[in-house]
């Protein structure tokens, strides 16, 4: 397959773009593999890619029930950051950040990672101290973070309402300069193409309908395209974890599925050059390269597998948006959609061996999944290949809840709708 480059674009253009080949093959599944990965989303595809690239395990199938990337990798608001409070999270997401910084080259696919920074706003001196705590925690782990004054914020984001008389005046912010956004679909496609080139079978329209077992042990899956056996079966289906694990007889998990809505405006000329979050509610926004403002807020707050939400959150998000940007009242919301999130009991993910022999589990991403894509796949591949976690994902066990070793960045306890 041709490498992608400016030159290949030009030569192909001269040939009328007739010679481009499919980005990935469309193979039929084989009868057995070394590793089956259930879930052709960002995490499943990156896991396959790193299994092949880092561990030389290429006899791998990724099974996707619908079209590739149809889950959350194509439904998020594309922010990439590692500005967490707790060290277990910061280390993991910073590992991811470093991978993002070279991802386009690694994949030979432009995932458009744009390090335009992520700015968290504070609205009271107390909040500013909380941000300082977080920023200092990052700095002590070697992660970039800076406090910003109101004057600096006003320069960076001129459209913000910086007035002291605002209901929640802005008093400062925490900036992670290396954070940014990426083109979400491209991440799925880039990983798919990369894994495919290393021999991984990516099988779309192949829904897992059951697990093949030998006693307790998982030895393969039943699918809408027949039985497929494997030495190892990895589950990376965030959003559908409950459904898939029930097929394996695991009825209860420390996870609730919730719907998160996201929104985009009509295309605008450059309006905001960073990722921004509001401190007195839950609102975040960036601008896509096409010009649409991409934004969102809280989850709807009830169990849902429907990729659509309801009006209260729509209204809340827009109200918070205008509290920051009163000039946007006349800009229009063009499209909204919903993604189903695995909300875990402490807001942090699970990447682990088990819970059944022969099975490996990657889930519980809440709304942090997109930015985790490289590190999640990298750690999961390590865990599958070595049958033990890497230090980066060692804290993300399933039994941490039981043992009281939760990683609760928001301090909300076992109430998933608040994470």
């Amino acid at each position: 397959m041709a490498e992608y480059s400016a030159l290949s674009l030009l030569t192909n253009a001269l040939r009328g773009n007739k010679d481009w080949k499919p980005a990935w093959r469309k193979p039929d599944p084989k009868a057995s593999y070394d590793v089956i990965i259930i879930g052709g989303g960002g995490h499943g595809l990156s896991t396959a890619y790193y299994l092949a690239k880092e561990h030389g395990i290429t006899n791998v199938a990724v099974l996707e029930k619908g079209w590739l990337g149809s889950g959350n990798v194509g439904r998020n608001t594309t922010a990439v950051r590692s500005n967490y409070l707790l060290p277990s999270n910061t280390r993991f997401y910073e590992h991811s950040m470093k991978m993002w910084e070279n991802l386009s080259h690694d994949l030979n696919y432009n995932v458009m990672f744009s390090q335009r920074g992520c700015l968290n706003l504070a609205h009271t001196p107390g909040q500013f101290d909380d941000l300082a705590r977080r920023g200092n925690a990052m700095r002590h782990l070697g992660v970039d973070a800076e406090l910003m004054s109101t004057a600096e914020i006003a320069r960076l984001v001129p459209a913000l309402d910086m007035s002291a008389s605002a209901r929640f005046p802005i008093v400062g912010g925490l900036m992670q300069p290396r954070a940014g956004t990426a083109r979400h679909d491209a991440v799925a496609w880039g990983y798919a193409r990369g894994a495919d080139r290393r021999g991984v079978d990516i099988v779309e329209n192949c829904e897992v309908t059951g697990f093949l077992r030998d006693g307790d042990r998982i030895i393969g899956v039943q699918t809408t395209r027949g039985e497929i056996r494997a030495k190892k079966v990895a589950v990376a289906v965030a959003g559908s974890t409950g459904r898939v694990m029930q097929l394996a007889g695991v009825d209860r998990m420390p996870i609730e599925s919730h719907v998160l809505q996201a929104f985009v405006t009509e295309s605008l000329k450059p309006f905001i050059d960073t990722v921004l979050t509001f401190g007195m509610g839950h609102f975040y926004m960036s601008q896509s390269d096409k010009g649409g403002l991409v934004y969102g807020g809280d989850i709807d707050g009830y169990n849902s597998y429907a990729q659509r939400g309801n009006l209260p959150i729509v209204d809340e998000v827009m109200s918070e948006m205008l509290a920051l940007f009163p000039g946007l009242a006349r800009v229009r919301m063009l499209r909204s959609w919903g993604g189903v999130c695995d909300m875990s009991m402490d807001g942090s993910p699970i990447i682990t061996t088990g819970p059944l022999p022969g099975m490996y589990l990657n889930c519980g991403w809440c709304y942090g999944g997109f930015k985790a894509t490289p590190a999640s796949g990298w750690c999961f591949a390590y865990t599958i290949a070595k049958d033990e976690p890497h230090a980066f994902n060692a804290p993300f066990t399933l039994d941490r809840f039981y043992r009281g070793m939760v990683i609760d960045d928001k301090g909300q306890g076992a109430t998933p709708r608040l994470h």
Binding site: A13, L322, M333
Partner: protein, 998 residues
Amino acid sequence: MSPRRTETGGRIDRLRTIRFTFDGAPYTGHAGDTLASALLANGVTLFGRSFKYHRPRGLLSAGVEEPNALVTVLRGEVREPNIAATMVEIYDGLVAVSQNRFPSLAWDVNAVNQLGGKILAAGFYYKTFMGPVFGPLKGTRFWMFCEHFIRRAAGLGKAGIAADTSRYERMNAFCDVLVVGSGPAGLSAAKAAADQGARVIMTELEPRFGGSANWSGETIDGAPAADWAARTVTQLEGHDTVRLLPRTTAWGYYDGNTIAALERVTDHKETPGKGEPRHRYWAIRAKTVVLATGSFERPLVFPGNDRPGVMLAHAGERYANDYGVLPGDRIALFTNNDSAYRSALALKKAGAAIVAIVDVRPELSAEMRSLATEAEAEIVSGHAVVATEGGKALSGLKVQRFDMNSGTLSGDARSIHANCLLMSGGWSPTIHLASQAGARAEWNADRQAFLPPKPTQQQWIGAGAFNGSFSTVEAITEGRAAGLSAAGATGAPAAVPDVEATPGNPDPAPVFEIKAKGKSFVDFQHDVTAEDVRLAHREGFVSVEHLKRYTTLGMATDQGKNSNVPGLAIMAEALGKPIPEVGTTRFRPPYSAVSIGSLAAERFGDLKPERLTPMHDWHLANGATMYSAGLWFRPMIYGLAGETIEQAYVREARATRESAGIVDVSTLGKIAVQGPDAGEFLDRVYTNMFSTLAVGKARYGLMLREDGLAFDDGTTWRLGEQDFLMTTTTANTGKVMQHLEYFLDVIWPELKVTVTSVTDEWAGAAIGGPKARAILAACVTGTAVDNTALPFMGIVRGQIAGVPVMICRLSFSGEMAFEVYSGAGYGTHVWEALVEAGKPFGLVTYGLEALGTMRIEKGHVTGAEIDGRTTARDLHLDWMLSKKKPFIGSAMMDREGLIAPERLQLVGLVSLDNRPLNGGAHIVEELDAANPHDSIGHITACCYSPALGKHIALALVEGGKARHGTRAFVSDPLRKRFGPVEIVSNHFYDPDGSRMHG
């Protein structure tokens, strides 16, 4: 007379002339014109530039689906970008400008992008811009360099920074029947339902009710259709159970038959009325929804189909019949179906010359032939348009013989001279709302369209063109039946209406694209060509969602209203599959773009209410600087002239410890816990015992969450045998209330306890300091306040200034202190009386800063320490964990992770370099300012302590208690503050409590 305005006809008011500007040039139009029709009447053909190639574009449509003619409307400094000119009603003084062009619409430098043509094919950006692997542009630098320019070239209009000064409002509405759309189907449905006595709401996105009746030229029951529509509207207006909403777009279909609609109340007015909102956001909860949303005409895909002057056929018809404007005087039509013949005839009648009707079908019905003859149009059947000519306006087109079955062209191209080409590629029912409601569209091979299926979970009924029933007779018949059924009536439907309409077969020929040399646009705004769709196919992006995401087909402001079906058809052909196997995307809200202002509605400019204590106005009048704490406003300091915040709080805290201070504590959460089982309930909720508390006494309590972590603390007062007053931290009040209600309602329904929020019932003033008791003694009547009458944690009732008060002796400041509660309506009286009584004693008022200072000196915890991650042990509150009884959290609090020795524990810090400490600073054992690492904890709160004369802090530090007396460093790289501290007990000041016990 404008060059394109007809002599007569249209529903504009020719007696009213309206003046407006477009791109700075003055124009006139008439009342009833849209910006599109008025400019068209003035001979304007160039309306906008496309997104990627910046190609010149004219009007494609006459309605909400317009992808090309997007403008920005200016109201002073306030900008509204990306509005379709077809949806802007002109008013005197309207200022509109074109967008996405530089320096001007006619001459746009970015049009150079067209030369990039094949390089800039779909998805090209994924394959390049990655930059070098080494050197200064490695990593993401090169991409970000390119991105800078890409972003500036992309985007449509420019958003405003100036705050919108309009108001927006919400309206909650309920009805039996909501009718969406007011064409013949919608009007008939609304009338039928209203006649049954149902509560009806009818929405129409255009200014005028009637839909196609306004421009179809048909007659209904003997009257012109437009008159029939007007008459029906009048009849509906006679029902007081009917609400008619013009200029209202039903844009979202949500669960529970909740429909979101946007009413544009004043956009068409020069100045809104007093208090009138610009937009009103209707949240309509309907028992049944009648979807009478009509259908969209589809463009045909052929080279040059985007040239200004190429327009949808019905749009041309509408401009003539609705607005009295001819889109051209030499008009050609290009069609795959019968509906264009009616358009041709209408334009002929309006005064245009119809030069040709190019029809892909080789055989035409006699009826169509006679319509063409009537329009004096040449029939060019079995042909297709293969090119258009002209620059910023159409000058002609080329046609070639076309084989409908093979799609091949043959014979010589023939030129036709025309300045307008009207096209019709068939019709797609407007099924968006049904799709949002969960229904999966079904392909109908006859109509060559996706039709709505039966409703699944929501209660809706379709009528008319929405169902693929394109004739007016069907629309009225289905509308009546839908209205009756929605109103729950079972009566026989009324007689079939008498409609005179031009004949026509509703089924088009299955032709979507003419493959010939040149760019054929599928998505006009995003410049997605048929070749882009085929490229996506070659690269494997064949599922409909991949097609959309890879090419951006259907992602423009029209959201695929024009491009969806043609795009699918081209992909289906490439795949060799029927269209339904390629699938259709599920439509998401909104149906058409919705102003963000309308969604914020009444909260635009008023995000959250302000919560005020009873003494709020007193604080303001007496120099308080207020602090926003959640929704509350609380005094931060009462600064004197020239004082800094620190000087003020140090003065306030010092004075309190030296004489006395008073602080407003009304924001503390207060919950009445009443009933025979109240004591038992509190025993279960708190870690310590409350059932044993004597009446007239208070006790400090701690609550855990179910998972064993600390949740909230506060004092609870026993006012009677079955009557407790619980206080909570200000921030957690709502959460604690819900926690209690949950356990009473769900877990322990057998307990006879009621809990009621009484936060607002009581005004609270805390007065503390060595002189506090004397001050109380000076103003309280009806009770003694000495140590016998009012011991530590005792409660008495009395009066201050004639007002009943309840006084509890408890202390947060560490001084001898009292909380004085009175009815909120008397809060200011009591406060003033206390302040007055305190004057001789040197009483000061103090705010949150001094409150915080004194609590740090005492080492009390607040939300900064009870942060959802700490345990009672971490905070040295394990003495409060009763071993005599289970309580919420008791079973889980001893898990291994919660008792680990390396957990963060509460300590005190003293700055050893005598410089201030910072909240959020971290603690390290070894200082490394250049490369900070190995944090062992962080500061939760800090202050200058006037009592100790030192800068101190509370901190959470790993294994903190064992570190008492050791030295560490604050490490605050964010603020470049590094320095030595001593780790000490959190009880800095008066650890024995001798001052408060007196």
